[in-house]
Structure formats: structure tokens, C-alpha cells
Symmetry: C2
């Protein structure tokens, strides 16, 4: 189910790419610089939009890398425009796209460590459920919320994207 969860993350990043287009379109409609969005934030001590997008991308990318052992692309966190953010999102989608269900075999039993954990570790299963996935959705949702707060016309369908409805 890790593979399926990352397929969903990839889908959410595809939706995020569409929100970036919607933000650019809204700026054009209202005649302001679309790249103003990168600095918007919901609280002075919360990440700005640019960082929400960067961290959403990194969370998906690094979680996939830690659970598969496949090296992820690196990014320098230098984006200043919506176009640059779109390129970053596309790079992570491309990375996730190359991973297969087989790559995630044994993910639950992997050992994950981070410098800030001071020598402690998490199992892949715990790391995914308790850390990676909640963080991914947190930053994606905050990116969405910052755009909505600043007038970009988005709705739940833009958030979820197309869902797999089928005949009964």
C-alpha cells in the first residue's frame, strides 16, 4: 500500500501544479505580479508559500527515497517564481513516476534516521504513517490555504482531482 500512497502523493503534486496555474491566472485577472504569491503566508511565523511548496515536494521525494533506497534529485531551494515552483513539482513527479510497486517491497521494515532525532530511528512503517504522510498533506493543504486566503478561486475538486468512480 506504500506504492499506492505515493501514487496518491504524485497525484496531489499534479493538483498543486494546477493551483500554481490558477494563481498565475488570478494575478493576470487582477493585474498584479503573480510572483507575489511566493512570499504570502498565513502567520508571520509560518512558512511562506514558496517554502510550503518546497517542503511538500521534499517530503514526498525524501520519503520515497528513504522507503525505497533510490536516490532522489536534489534541489537548491532557490525558487522565486511560480514557474520555478512548477519546475520543482514536475521534477518530483518525474522522480516518483519512475518508482514501481516492487521498489517499495520491504519499506515497512527499513530503518529511517534524521540528524534531529539525535541517534534515534523510526521503522519505515512508523515514519511513513506518523511523519511523512501527515507532513506531506500538511504542506500541500497549507499551500492551498494560502492561495485561497489570497483570492485564488479553488474548490475541493481542485484539491482532490479526478477520482476513480466506476459503474456499480
Amino acid at each position: 500500500m506504500y506504492y499506492e500512497a505515493f501514487v496518491q502523493m504524485k497525484k496531489m503534486l499534479g493538483q498543486l501544479d494546477k493551483w500554481l496555474d490558477a494563481a498565475a491566472a488570478q494575478a493576470k485577472t487582477k493585474s498584479f505580479d503573480p510572483n507575489l504569491f511566493v512570499g504570502f503566508r498565513l502567520a508571520p511565523d509560518q512558512f511562506a508559500f514558496v517554502r510550503q511548496v518546497q517542503v511538500a515536494c521534499d517530503t514526498a521525494k525524501l520519503a520515497a527515497s528513504r522507503l525505497t533506497g533510490k536516490d532522489a534529485p536534489t534541489h537548491a531551494d532557490t525558487e522565486q517564481t511560480l514557474e520555478e515552483l512548477k519546475a520543482r513539482v514536475a521534477a518530483v513527479i518525474g522522480y516518483l513516476d519512475a518508482l514501481t510497486a516492487k521498489d517499495f517491497e520491504g519499506a515497512a521494515a527499513r530503518v529511517v534516521s534524521m540528524p534531529r532525532w539525535e541517534g534515534k530511528v523510526m521503522t519505515g512503517a512508523d515514519y511513513f504513517q506518523e511523519h511523512a504522510q501527515p507532513n506531506f498533506f500538511f504542506h500541500v493543504s497549507h499551500a492551498y490555504a494560502i492561495l485561497r486566503h489570497n483570492g485564488v478561486p479553488l474548490g475541493k475538486r481542485d484539491y482532490l482531482g479526478a477520482i476513480s468512480l466506476r459503474a456499480p
Copy 2:
């Protein structure tokens, strides 16, 4: 892994309960009515805080019910205070607490339908990945974002809660 995912949702609802306490404490510190929070929102056409909490609760509750076949408690959506929202969160945590891993056996193959889908259905697997889980995190994150936007001192640790770190 459905069971583990709902254990995580239950944990997130427990964190949400703590954010409600933090909101009440912030109102006391700043000498305003804590129940003002229930009406706050990030955009005029987004759900207010009260509705974000209600929908987060309902998404977890109804998804668990649809994937297990176990009846969920009903709620009348009449909450007007933080205390009433805490009671609703507690009721859903109690419902989830009674579910076992065995209850989720066969969840992926269940058939889920909703009136708005006009006769179409989703498999339990698709419904969970593409609809229930993204929606749950969306509303939990928006509840958090509304509080942060309105000055409640919360950080990532309040969002994630304690994580299962262990000796290497």
C-alpha cells in the same frame, strides 16, 4: 495498513483536541471569548473553523464505517463552542478506538457509494486513498491553519504529536 492509517487519524484527532485547548488558553491570555474561534475562516467562501472540525471528524468516522461496515455515531452539527467541539472529537476517537485490525479485513474490496456520485461507486481502496484520507488531512490542516492565522501558538510538534522514535 487501513487499520494503521485509522490509528494515525485517531492520533491526529487527539492532537486537534489539544489545539482546541490551546485556542481556549490563547483567548484567556488575550481576554476574548474563546468561542469566537468557531466562526473564523481563511476565505469568505471556505468553511469556518467549526465546520472544518466537524468535517474532519465526519471524514474519519464515515470512512471507518464504510470500510468496516460498523455503524458510526451520528452528530447533529450543532456545535457552537470549543467545548462542544471537544466532545465531538472525543466521540469519534471513542468510535475509532473500538475498531480492530480485523474489522478492516476486506476493506479494499468494499463498494462505496455516495448520493452525489449519481449511481457511480468507488472501491474501498480507491475511496480511501483518493477521497477519505486526503479530505481528512485537508480539514485537519485547515483547522490548524485557522488557529495559527488567528494567533494560537502551535508548531509542527503540536501537529504531529509524539512519534515512535526508538533506539537503533
